[in-house]
Symmetry: C2
Subunit: 314 residues, 2 copies
Amino acid sequence: MNVVGVDVGATKIATGVVSSEGKVLGRVRRPTARTSEKLLSGIVRAVSEVRDGFEVGGVCVAVPGLLLSQESIVVYSPNLHAIEGIRLKDELEPEIQLPLTIENDNSAAAWGEFRFGAGRGANHLVFVGLGTGIGGGIVIHGQLLRGAQGAGGELGHVTIQAAGPRCACGNRGCLEAFASGTAIGRRAGEVASERPNSALGRLAIEREVLGEDVTRLARDGDEVALSVLKEVGRWLGIGLAGFVNVFNPEVVVVGGGAIGGGGPLLECAREEIYVRARSPGRDLVEVKEAALGLDSGVIGAAALAKGPSGNCLL
Amino acid sequence: MNVVGVDVGATKIATGVVSSEGKVLGRVRRPTARTSEKLLSGIVRAVSEVRDGFEVGGVCVAVPGLLLSQESIVVYSPNLHAIEGIRLKDELEPEIQLPLTIENDNSAAAWGEFRFGAGRGANHLVFVGLGTGIGGGIVIHGQLLRGAQGAGGELGHVTIQAAGPRCACGNRGCLEAFASGTAIGRRAGEVASERPNSALGRLAIEREVLGEDVTRLARDGDEVALSVLKEVGRWLGIGLAGFVNVFNPEVVVVGGGAIGGGGPLLECAREEIYVRARSPGRDLVEVKEAALGLDSGVIGAAALAKGPSGNCLL
């Protein structure tokens, strides 16, 4: 039975009809609206368009932010306030007219990689999504870790440097403040001003440097941009080393939009894990780039969609 | 059916016959031997003594260090090298002549508090044991988190200050390096030299200050000792805040021998959690002292003992 997976992001709603083998059979993308009403009707419309012509057994909508799973309400979504405070299942299910599941977007991405991506065959997986912020999803003994309220898995918000820079969450020194796409851009801006003759330095004179600029410049051979990616990779590794000690996973999957610079970033993260984490966990763990790329969320959401009996359909 | 729980520590082997209600009906304690052979025979003898006169269905031995659960071999036990490298189940079961389970000591303590102590009624619990080092045990969705090799739950070895002091594990800036009993003693020694007229300062001139000295002096009203406990409590809270964000537990239980100074230590940890962790998890979580005290390990081990069918007996 095919299933529809929906990944609601800050800028776009990605939907896909996903087969029982985890293949995306059809896609629809729509921009994310900024008001709650339009956001909801945009999701309904995208689902209706994408399922057209397919037999579909259920839908799962993955949403960004802190989701109280029982009430299916997002209480905090820094990049998509329009989704906060709505009883998503109650609002959307009557419109969609299919069994509807609501999930956190990073949990969905973790589950996608676990079932059909870089974590196939593992029982324990840690997923870290690098984007504007850092999201996390954790699979333990083959089960998603949600925690008591569904608010677990916030891997971006562990302190790795107690007196470090202020994080978007209000805390200081979170992993997110050192290794998100935003942090890559910010650090690049600082380094650029010290190295004005580098490609990075020249760009920074023209405009604000973004995480993706750093990735691109590093790939084009700019040593300064590369050094920023390496530095961020080491911070990432400091956080991941802790997760290796705590979860003893077979695989850590790094995904999200800011992982374009995968190679050097992950290489430095791996080195730091090897220095900081303990045997035998550090010897076992593989640190991989997300195999499903930006489809992790859509495919993972589909794999979490439940049928009328309450069981997953894929 | 009664069960025997065994908690193997660096200095003593604590055993108890535990009832199905989690009550300790009888106890035997023996010193821990320093050679593998004597250690094993000491465990066997303690079990034989404690079960005398009771009907007992099984035994669980909880051991310190990194336990590969499938092979029941401890690969690393910094404070009890004699236990390393032995196939514990294979060696002990024929002597004990009862179904035998081997567990990690902090996992057992977590399970004890979950079933019969401060975590009763919770589904998600984080246990942190403060002793010579810091151990951890995690219950998620009512299940112990072991990880792929049984090496998970190492909550003492997450980096909270990247360039911090060297930890016993070789890493820098681990939670253990800031908030273990050893760390309390070390920090007290530093502070004492700046405050030679305090009770702490006078003690430090006579001999090395231990974690338990700090607790005692703080309870007796020494402001300097109290300030050390508060500082350590804040570091503990920095680590715990990350666990609240990652696990979203209903309860965090702090136990172990170095929690004698519970009050001010935990109070400062709670304040730090409130500053650093996110809603709604920080609003839900209760941070409690272990209700079973030093019995967490014995009772928890008993509750993890399996019968011939492979099911837990309690």
